[in-house]
Each structure stands twice: as structure tokens, then as C-alpha cells.
């Protein structure tokens, strides 16, 4: 080959750069502790909340009962045919993420994402056992596995594993009665699926929180890539006021007597970063906007007697304004924009729609499916009979009677398969399929019309509540 190769070929694969985030104090760190306590508390404790629903129904407040196809959320019970509630919640979650991202950038990533929260927890454990950044760096660089290193590493891994086990365990508790399952798990006679799920989630928690950490955000997660499409010049992100900070003190280019920026190049913002980046290089793909560098820098600025906010939440428009010597926009102008207002409106509309659907939901629920094969049957006395498959849903924890009736042409008669009266008893927490016949005696109007409207009524005889569904009666169409 004649083409000159001036240097060795570039490496196509890079080893993971270990990150040793330093401890930091400040308002954003405190906010993250609070959010961690709330989110982890909700996650670990929710399956243990009890909720009395009467006999035959589970008493777990939040339960995804896949085997029986029921979803329980405190006083709300969702059956599979009402899946639109779940779909609506997912739409709301999506719109909520859009809203927060367009207003506050990757605030989900920085504060509430499980990957962030559990990594934070794992780093807390790491710091507690192995010490802060410098001690961990020393331990990392120490090649020899002496007894101390072995003890520290083993302790850390065991604590991580216990957290991971609790995490995987809490997940399976959402799908079946938690106290029963815990007893079964300990007695080693729970279902294999429970153990498999628990082991997989324990493994992923241990690995993602302990070792993969920022690699998940950079390489595995699609959300940061999508988020870029929702951010604009008014979105608040974490940034560095380089026009204030540069040129840095201690940097080689700065000679005595030259003008100096506020940045003293202490690297505090870099050492606390869980993603291992230097925010002074500008907004970058890896930044999850956890704001720990803001805390770190504010602390240093206080110590050197400079104003806070060298690293701060700001938007692109602020930078332009500040460079031109103009004051930045107030926060509310960043947050209240047509885009965020649109997202909020959509989010609220879906939410109000769901709440409306939830509150107008009837306690009695049934569907009418007219049998179309055949549309009608001629009986021996010449009367015309239509058949309807009516599904009656009993969401109560005890058996429930439903009285069926019919309105429409007065000549129409209602009959129920296998029953002499019109009262159907539906067992607790189940659906009953009842064949229902509507008969038009020969030579009556409905028997001769191609189609006439009818209305089925279902009444709870115990409290008089009743609901209706409309359907049609097919007469004998004369050729």
C-alpha cells in the first residue's frame, strides 16, 4: 500500500473508564436524597400495604394479578377489558416525560430514573464501605489483592447483592400476595417463575447498579437519544458560565497579572460527576443533569469568595443574553412556553378523561352480543326468536343477583336459557355468559319487520341500580 499511515491505527474499542464520584453537599444533593427516599420507599413498601376488599378478593392494595387478569389499585379494580385505563396512564407518563424534558431537560435522568436512583444507592454503599473518592481510587489502583482489599470488596458486593435481592423481591411481590409469597420464598416452595424473576432482577440490579452504571445511560438507554428532540434553546440544562470562568486560574496559559476567570480549575465539578465528564466542556451527551457539579462548584465559589452559579441551571438563550451583558430570562419564562403549555394541556386532557371514565364507570357492567349465526330462528308456532349472548360482570367479592328485563315493542318476550325467571346469579369476581332469547309471536310487528330496536336492562334487585344496553331484534324478512 502506497498511502502513508502517519500513526498507529486508532483503537476501535475503548475500555470503560472507572468513575469514582466524590461526596458532595448542597441543595441538589439534598433534593436527590429526598427523591431517593421517596421513590425507593414507594417501590419497596407498596406491596405490603393492605386494603380490605371483603371476602374472595385479595387484600393487597396494589396487585397485578396476572393469573386472574385483575389489576387492583387501592379502591380501583381494573379488568382486562378496561385496559384503556392502563394505556391512558402510559400516554400520560409519556406526555409527562415530554413536558419535563422540554422544560427542565434530562431531569428524569438526573433525579428519578431507577438507574440513577439505584446507582446513587450503590455508590452510597460503596462510599460507606470503601471510603470516599481518594480511598476508592487507591484501592482500585492497588494491584495486589491483600486481605483488606478482599474484605472491602466482598463486604461491598454482599451489601449490593442484598439490596439487589430486595429489589428483585419487591418486584415479584407486586404480582401475588406479598406475605404469602415471602413465606413461600423462604420455605423454598414458591413457584419457579417467582424464583426465576427474582434471580434475573437481582442479577440485573447488582450488575447495572454496581458495575454498568453510566454505561447504561450512554450506550443502552434510548431515552437520552429521544430527549434531544424535545429540548430547545429555552430548555433548562446544567451549564458552565465560561465567559465568567475562563481563563482558568492555574492553567498554563495564564501568566501572573493576566486577567483571570472565576474558575480555579479545582476539578471539584469533575470529581463529583457520576458520569465521569467535565461539564466545562459544554453540554454533552453523557450529562444526566443531576446537578451535583452545581453543588460542588457553589461550595468552592463560597470558599474563594466568588458569587455562586459558575455552574448552574441555564438555557441556551441565557448564555446569549449574558454574553451580551443582558440579564437572563426569569425561570418561569423558560418553563411557561407554548410547547410546555401544549404538553401540559394534552397531559391534563388525558388525565381528566381518565378520571371522568373512572367516575362514570357503572357498578353494574354487561355486554350484549346478538347471535348473528343465524339472525333469527322460527319456532314451531311460527314465532320469531333472536338469541343474545349477554356477559354479566360481577366485580364484587360476593355472589350477586342481576334481574334482566327488556323494553321495546310490548309483544316481545324475554326468556333466559336454563332459567325460569329473569334473575341471573353471577358468582363473586367473575363473568357469566347467559344466553338470552327474545321472542316475537307470529304476526306481531317485530316479527315482520326487518329490524326493530330493543333495550336490555340489568338491575341489581338489592339496591335497585340499573343500567341498559341497546340492541336490535331481527324479524323474519319476507322474501
Amino acid at each position: 500500500m502506497a498511502s502513508p499511515q502517519p500513526e498507529a491505527p486508532a483503537k476501535l474499542y475503548a475500555a470503560q473508564e472507572p468513575v469514582f464520584p466524590k461526596k458532595v453537599y448542597g441543595k441538589f444533593r439534598n433534593l436527590k436524597w429526598v427523591i431517593m427516599a421517596i421513590t425507593l420507599g414507594i417501590y419497596y413498601l407498596t406491596p405490603w400495604i393492605r386494603w380490605d376488599r371483603g371476602p374472595n378478593l385479595p387484600d393487597q392494595a396494589v396487585l397485578v394479578d396476572l393469573a386472574n387478569r385483575r389489576f387492583f389499585f387501592f379502591w380501583i379494580e381494573i379488568w382486562p377489558y378496561e385496559f384503556y385505563f392502563i394505556a391512558g396512564l402510559l400516554v400520560m407518563a409519556g406526555l409527562g416525560l415530554f413536558l419535563f424534558t422540554s422544560a427542565l431537560g434530562r431531569v428524569w435522568c438526573g433525579y428519578a430514573c431507577p438507574q440513577t436512583v439505584w446507582t446513587d444507592l450503590f455508590i452510597l454503599v460503596e462510599r460507606w464501605i470503601e471510603g470516599d473518592r481518594n480511598a476508592r481510587l487507591r484501592l482500585h489502583r492497588q494491584k495486589k489483592w491483600d486481605l483488606r482489599k478482599f474484605r472491602l470488596r466482598l463486604t461491598k458486593w454482599v451489601v449490593w447483592l442484598l439490596i439487589a435481592l430486595a429489589t428483585g423481591g419487591a418486584w415479584v411481590f407486586y404480582f401475588t400476595d406479598a406475605p404469602t409469597l415471602l413465606a413461600d420464598l423462604i420455605a423454598l416452595n414458591a413457584h419457579p417463575v417467582a424464583y426465576t424473576t427474582l434471580l434475573i432482577l437481582t442479577g440485573t440490579t447488582f450488575f447495572f447498579g454496581g458495575f454498568a452504571r453510566e454505561q447504561i445511560c450512554i450506550y443502552a438507554c434510548p431515552w437520552p437519544r429521544i430527549q434531544a428532540a424535545m429540548m430547545d434553546e429555552d430548555t433548562l440544562v446544567v451549564g458552565y458560565r465560561d465567559w465568567r470562568g475562563e481563563p482558568r486560574k492555574h492553567s498554563e496559559e495564564v501568566k501572573a497579572g493576566d486577567p483571570q476567570g472565576d474558575c480555579i480549575d479545582c476539578m471539584a465539578c469533575v470529581t463529583v460527576c457520576p458520569m465521569g465528564i467535565d461539564i466545562r466542556d459544554g453540554q454533552q451527551m453523557e450529562c444526566i443533569t443531576c446537578a451535583l457539579c452545581i453543588d460542588a462548584c457553589d461550595d468552592i465559589m463560597d470558599k474563594v469568595g466568588k458569587p455562586r452559579g459558575l455552574i448552574d441551571y441555564m438555557a441556551l438563550t441565557d448564555e446569549t443574553n449574558e454574553r451580551a451583558g443582558k440579564p437572563p430570562k426569569p425561570i418561569w419564562k423558560h418553563v411557561l412556553r407554548p410547547r410546555t403549555i401544549l404538553y401540559t394541556t394534552l397531559w391534563s386532557l388525558v388525565g381528566v378523561g381518565l378520571l371522568f371514565a373512572l367516575f362514570v364507570r357503572q357498578d353494574i357492567d354487561f355486554t350484549v352480543a346478538p347471535v348473528r349465526n343465524p339472525t333469527y330462528v322460527v319456532l314451531s308456532d311460527g314465532s320469531i326468536r333472536n338469541t343474545y349472548e349477554i356477559r354479566l360482570r360481577n366485580k364484587h367479592g360476593e355472589d350477586r343477583p342481576f334481574r334482566m328485563s327488556l323494553s321495546g315493542d310490548r309483544t316481545l318476550q324475554l326468556q333466559l336459557e336454563g332459567l325460569t325467571d329473569a334473575v341471573v346469579t353471577v358468582p363473586a369476581d367473575s363473568v357469566k355468559l347467559q344466553r338470552v332469547y327474545v321472542i316475537a309471536p307470529a304476526d306481531t310487528d317485530p316479527a315482520g319487520l326487518a329490524q326493530s330496536s330493543i333495550r336490555f336492562w340489568v338491575e341489581d334487585p338489592t339496591n335497585g341500580d340499573r343500567v341498559h344496553k341497546d340492541s336490535v331484534f331481527n324479524g323474519k324478512v319476507q322474501p
Partner: protein, 287 residues
Amino acid sequence: MADQSKKPHQDPETTGHEWDGIEEFNNPLPRWWLWVFYATIVWGIWYVIAYPAWPLVEGAPAGYKNWSTRANIAADIAAAEAANAGMNTRLASAELTAIADDAELNGYAISAGGAVFRTWCAQCHGSGAAGAKGYPNLLDNDWLWGGDIAAIHATISHGIRTEEDDDTRYSEMPVFGDILEEEEIVQVANYVVSLSGDAPDATAVIAGEMVFMDNCASCHMEDARGDREQGAPNLADAIWLYGGDFETVMQTIEGSRFGVMPAWNTRLSEAEIRAVSAYVHQLGGGE
């Protein structure tokens, strides 16, 4: 955010490739990504050995795990049958009339019977059981051989006019074209049509009644309401197996009819026959 020109950082690394002055940045993949790639290769090798993966002329090799979709299906079917075995035993030994009172057994019988019906019966009686010309509608309240569950069960078990079964339901309508005069057939056809509608020739009805009493009433009874012992249809109601218009009735009298249904006890288990009996019984005409 920061002004790129002021950054004290070196130029980003490039791969050294250059096309018309365009250089390619080097953004190396994480090394663990490469290990994941190697792991998929190892997985692929294992998969090819373990499962049928080489398409050959006569099919794929079995793989050391002898995995096959047919075996899986067979195992699934066996598991389903084993799971239903208890219900099938209960069904086969229950009193026929007691099935409807046992909610659990009845629910099982109706869904199992529906499956049997759609597999074996729907070809003639239709998937909705509405029948067709010559194939009875099972939804209505008219029965040739009886509509209680025991009668339905006997009909399904032994069939109708089937040669292979000695207990089959049997009867035969004579070919009256060979017995009666043409005029008599027209008269009796007018009479039969008049029982449930308007005869085309009202003057023939009286004479037709005489012919009917002499030739037909022994099976169809004097009131023409039929006889279930002989499977003789009720001629006075609104339901017709082959059609109630004058021409069709003429055809039936002249040439007779001979509907056949197979005996199912040689093909279906007792539990299946009982299940489909219960299913047919609850379609709307059960007695």
C-alpha cells in the same frame, strides 16, 4: 454551551481515514460491547448444536436436545387432556339430567361440547347449529326424535338410519309416488300445506284429508303432529326440514326422504358425546 474555540482541549481523535478532505471521528465502542458480540457467537454455536438449525433436503437434524414442534404440541395436548381427565370422568359417569344442575360440570360440558360441535357437527348442521335444507335446525323447539337431553344423547350416540349401528334410530317413509295416484298426491299435498298455511287449491283439501287419514296418519298421527317414536315430523307447525311450499311437499310425498346421520359412539368418547349433547340441549330448543 461553552465556546468551542476557547476550550483548552486537543482536537478530537480521528480514525485517520480521509475522503476528499472529510475526516472520520473515532468514537470507539465500549469494549464490553465487543464481549457481548463474542458472547452471541458462542450462543450461536451452542444453539446450532442444541436445536435443529441446518436445513437439509430431508428436513433439519434433530439437534442433541431432540427438540421438535410436533413433540411440543403433542405434549401440550397430552397435558390438556390430563388436566381435563377428571372432568371427563365426572361427565361420563354423571346422570344426564343432573349435568345442568352442576354449574362447574355444565360449564365444562358446554365449552367442550361447543368444540366437539364445531369439529364434527358443523359440516351439516352449520357452525351456528341453524341447519340447512335436510339438516335439522338445532336451535328451534321442534324435534324429530325428541329434545330432552337423553333423546339428544341417544341420537348422537347411535345416529339416524345408519347401517353400522344396530341401535340406530330408524324409520322409512314409503315412496308414495309408487302407491298413490297423481291426483291423490296433489290432494294430500294440499291438505298438508293447509295445516300450517294456505293451500293453493282449497277444494282439494277435503279429499286430501281422506287420503292422509288412510295413508299418512299411521306415522304422522291423525292430528298430523307427528310421532317422535318413529321420527315422523310434525306437519302442522311452522318448521319444515325440506321446505313447506306446495312443490317441495309434493316432491317429499312422491319420492320420500331418507336423511342419515352417523353414529358417533364409534368416533367420540362418551364424555365428548355427553358434552355435545349438553351443548345442543342449551342452544334454545332443549326440553
